[in-house]
């Protein structure tokens, strides 16, 4: 599947001490779950799929243990594979993430159409452990593998008119059977301002837990913007287009009063139908407080002078 050769082996990049600590965190989490005796916890089956080695690892979730693989890959919002949380994992077999062609075009001097594995060979892959906050008030901690979207955008030399970046999911009702029903105006589209897209935290992800991204998580290539609600993380991307004008985004087109273009995590601004002040971290019993920008306060400068209450 992933045929590229990394410059260094994953175990060379990460001090063994850290790697072991990470496993301790996992064990601690598992022990905690057992101690709680919480019913309904899936016994951990562990990561599966082809290895996706990384050159660098950064834990950017305040030292929290990642949510177990089984939970990350069985509780998904990916309406193209079904609208129930368990549907995407069940239906992911219809998605064929290799071979896969991605086009990056629009306001760039060097547009590009290439195979996803060729794209992945262009950048050193990193593991980034991020919090992921869904607009539905649940959250996870996920060890993504990918590369900064900004690195790709800079390679293609944006023109002076490039103000926004538009993303598009594959449109194919055979591979994505959920598209046979017009729940959303397919294909799913998302967008970022160019400064958001080139922020070092913004990731194009192709893997999870050291493995190639499973279909239900948006294989082969998805967006991860950790300070925004999960719906901004468009999955199974086929096209990235730099634009001068703000592109339409699927959820804000469907319900403009509930989902805006920005989708910044903000405990102060409730969704009209539920509070955003707290969230349930998957695997935990009590809800915890939601952090502004999902705890990634370093992005606040992107929004200087704008009223954060309007950036839902």
């Amino acid at each position: 599947m992933a045929r590229w050769k990394p410059d260094m082996r994953g175990d060379e990049a990460t001090p063994e001490r850290l790697w072991l600590r990470r496993r301790d965190f996992l064990k601690l989490g598992a022990a905690g779950a057992l101690a709680l005796g919480w019913p309904g916890r899936t016994p951990a089956g562990g990561p599966s799929g082809a290895d996706l080695p990384v050159a660098k690892r950064s834990a950017l979730a305040g030292g929290e243990a990642p949510t177990p693989w089984d939970d990350v890959t069985s509780y998904n919002n990916f309406y193209e594979l079904g609208t129930d949380k368990a549907d995407p994992a069940r239906n992911a077999g219809s998605l064929r993430p290799r071979p896969w062609t991605v086009t990056i075009d629009g306001e760039v001097k060097k547009p590009l159409t290439l195979d996803v594995d060729a794209l992945l060979r262009r950048f050193p892959l990193e593991e980034r452990i991020y919090r992921m906050r869904c607009v539905e008030a649940w959250s996870m901690v996920i060890p993504w593998i990918g590369f900064p979207l900004g690195d790709l955008i800079r390679q293609l030399e944006p023109t002076s008119r490039a103000k926004f970046v538009a993303f598009q999911t594959l449109l194919d009702p055979v591979q994505l059977p959920g598209q046979r029903r017009a729940v959303i105006d397919w294909p799913y589209v998302e967008g970022l301002r160019i400064d958001e897209a080139t922020h070092p935290l913004t990731l194009l992800a192709a893997g999870l837990y050291g493995r190639v991204l499973p279909g239900q998580n948006g294989a082969p290539l998805r967006l991860v913007v950790p300070w925004k609600y999960g719906f901004k993380g468009v999955k199974s991307i086929v096209r990235i287009t730099l634009t001068e004008r703000q592109p339409p985004t699927s959820w804000s087109r469907l319900a403009p009063s509930e989902y805006g273009f920005y989708g910044n995590v903000n405990p102060e601004v409730d969704h009209p139908r539920w509070s955003q002040a707290r969230e349930r971290r998957i695997g935990e019993f009590l809800k915890r407080k939601t952090l502004p920008f999902n705890g990634y306060g370093e992005v606040a400068s992107l929004y200087a002078g704008l009223d954060p209450r309007t950036l839902y």
């Binding site: 019913p39 949510t67 309406y79 539905e136 649940w138 469907l254 139908r273 349930r280 998957i282 809800k287």
Partner: protein, 198 residues
């Protein structure tokens, strides 16, 4: 051919199995770790689903008799209605205790501020007096005509329940629509006089 008494016993037993089966299934799924990554949400959603299902089932015997002449489902009607009220109460109790962990400030704000919770709570408030007055003693105390009039609140509760569900979902309205159609048909059937009613 079983005699009447034994047929009643079978019907009573079947009624109990029907109303308790969803709880048994829920317990089995919890014990077998089949509630997924967010079991708190899964339990809440299931209890809500069975509330609406039993509400719809409790509304079915009258049209069934009109359409097919079958009388025996009427004997299950009260049990199905009480089941709906019990599942509604469990649904709310789960939301209050496990989901919100008795954060009354949040719960009150939800009930007052969030229309989908307001209508759901109203449906629960309508169902509770019906469950309480479901006994033969209460039928006698109120008199059948008044008792029957009171229990028409179930129609309003069913409609509010459907609205609660429809306003809760984000985009996929398929399931609430199915409930709306089924409950709508069962209610509209009551408006037409039965074809062979003497």
């Amino acid at each position: 051919m079983p005699d009447g008494a034994s047929r009643n016993r079978w019907l009573t037993a079947a009624g109990w199995v029907a109303v308790l089966a969803p709880l048994a299934l829920l317990a089995a799924d919890a014990a077998g770790h089949r509630l997924g990554a967010n079991p708190i949400e899964a339990v809440l959603n299931r209890l809500g689903f069975w509330t609406l299902t039993f509400l719809a089932l409790s509304l079915a015997p009258t049209p069934l008799r009109l359409w097919t002449g079958l009388g025996w489902p009427l004997r299950l009607r009260r049990r199905l209605g009480v089941a709906a009220a019990c599942y509604a109460l469990l649904h709310f109790a789960w939301y209050l205790s496990v989901d919100q962990f008795f954060d009354l400030q949040v719960v009150v704000a939800d009930v007052v501020k969030r229309p989908f919770i307001t209508v759901g709570f109203a449906a629960l408030l309508l169902l509770l007096p019906l469950a309480v007055t479901s006994t033969d003693g209460w039928v006698r105390r109120l008199g059948f005509a008044r008792w029957k009039a009171l229990h028409r609140l179930a129609y309003a509760a069913a409609l509010l329940g459907v609205v609660h569900f429809a306003w809760r979902v984000k985009a996929d309205r398929l399931k609430p629509t199915i409930f709306a159609v089924v409950i709508g048909v069962l209610l509209l059937a009551r408006l037409r006089p039965g074809p062979r009613r003497a």
